[in-house]
């Protein structure tokens, strides 16, 4: 298994499309930065408008923490979309080029092969989120500095700089689990559909529908608590004034369970199917 994983990592590192994907994500991040900066001042004005009558404000709320928060909000659609495209390509390209046959002609078990794909997809996802997080934090703090964070979530919540950084880091960590879920889904779609274009389309639809379903109240506690699309926003919970840790843990553990289930489905289907490019 280790040797399979190493060869997968080697292949990913050698492909130019990996660089393109990374560049795309960083460029998107750059645009989101700009948008956050120009949007940020307006948002603060909007939030504090009603308080201006009674208060004078000192200190700068348009700081690195706010920029990171605004970027976080945008990232969780753009990044999974690109991730799903890249990660599904790890398998669909093998079908297209028929290298999957050459691989299976070697003494490699199907189980180990597909598991190594899933593991490498997860590693890749973690790496991308790490790069995003590090660049976001570094650039935000370097250009905009530190300061209190204001978030509107059931009221205006003000967080001191260190507290804000802690919450933002945890939000990234929590959001990573959501990214892993979408990555695993995209690879399973690749197992089922094999064709790159079909997989991209279905993956995009899945992502869009998940985001839409997140916002719908089903008026059913079980669905609202347990349905997978309701679990993908746990990162937001870190911005309630009192962090509901038990809710966050529950959602993330359940989402991991969904990820394992989706993986298992992909593995089963791959194992049962004949290898035909």
């Amino acid at each position: 298994m280790i040797s399979l994983i190493r060869s997968e990592i080697y292949k990913i590192g050698k492909q130019s499309k990996t660089l393109y994907a990374l560049a795309a994500i960083l460029i998107i991040e750059g645009f989101v930065f700009l948008s956050a900066y120009y949007q940020g001042a307006g948002i603060i004005d909007l939030l504090l408008d009603n308080l201006k009558e009674s208060f004078e404000f000192q200190g700068n709320l348009l700081n690195g923490n706010l920029i990171i928060y605004l970027i976080l909000n945008s990232l969780w659609f753009h990044v999974p979309l690109i991730l799903m495209i890249i990660i599904s390509g790890f398998l669909t390209s093998e079908y297209k080029d028929k290298t999957i046959e050459t691989v299976m002609l070697q003494p490699v078990s199907k189980l180990n092969f597909i598991l190594s794909k899933y593991i490498v997809s997860i590693i890749f996802t973690l790496l991308i989120v790490l790069i995003l997080a590090v660049t976001t934090f570094l650039i935000s703090y370097w250009i905009f500095g530190y300061g209190d964070l204001v978030v509107y979530l059931d009221g205006l919540n003000f967080f001191e700089s260190e507290d804000a950084s802690y919450r933002l880091i945890n939000a990234f960590l929590s959001g990573t689990i959501t990214m892993v879920f979408f990555s695993v889904v995209s690879l399973t779609l690749a197992v089922i559909l094999k064709d790159a274009t079909k997989t991209w389309i279905v993956a995009a639809i899945f992502l869009i529908c998940s985001n839409l379903l997140l916002k719908i109240d089903f008026n059913n506690e079980i669905i609202n608590e347990l349905f997978f699309s309701k679990l993908t926003d746990s990162w937001q919970y870190f911005f309630y004034y009192e962090v509901p840790y038990s809710s966050i843990y529950f959602k993330n553990i359940l989402l991991l369970a969904y990820s394992i289930l989706v993986m298992a489905i992909g593995v089963l289907i791959f194992k049962r199917r004949d290898i035909q490019g």
Binding site: I43, E53, S54, E56, G59, N60, Y152, F158, D217
Partner: protein
Amino acid sequence: MKRLYFLLLFFVSLNAVNGQEIDNDLLLIKRRMDSIKSYEAQIKLDVDISFINMPSKYGKVRYRQGEPTKVTSRDFIMLPKRGLDLTLNELFEHPFITVNRGQENYKGVSCKVINLIPTSSKSQFSIATIFMDTSAKRIVKSEISTKMEGVFTTSLNYKNDIDALPTAIEVEFAVNNVKIPLRFLGKETQVDRKAIKQEGSKSGKIFLTLSDVQIGR
């Protein structure tokens, strides 16, 4: 008949003279505050507004006679527009008359209550009600109706009988709930539109605690 008329005029004039004068106790308190050329203190701010969650903020307050009071902090802070004028300079900025409203008990202290009515249109407030602890020569409460910023009610608490500066200040004011588009950043929360409409304006409070006060005379 003429005599009666002049007597009446005299009494009215007397009263008029009383209404146009600034209350002596207030002047005493003002003189006492004017003796404070400067002060510095550590300040702690706590906000009590239903839709705001904010941790205690810490800073430093600095006053120099003739200059506006300054509060500095490394954090973001929200300062009430009223409540930091402990030396009454803002009230005395433009001419006013005082009207005695009698005695009232406030937090166990017998206070002389007076109204301040500005006589100049330049004044920032329309009327102020001051509760004075005449024995301790200090103000314990004020209600200021500003022209542009609503009504501020300030409560001042002192550590002991002889302190000129309070250790705790409570400022109460009216504040409207935050109105923002639903399509805003942040989790899409359940918004009860009816409740928000019914709520309208609410009161909010900010608590200021002063410590390590150093007065320069």
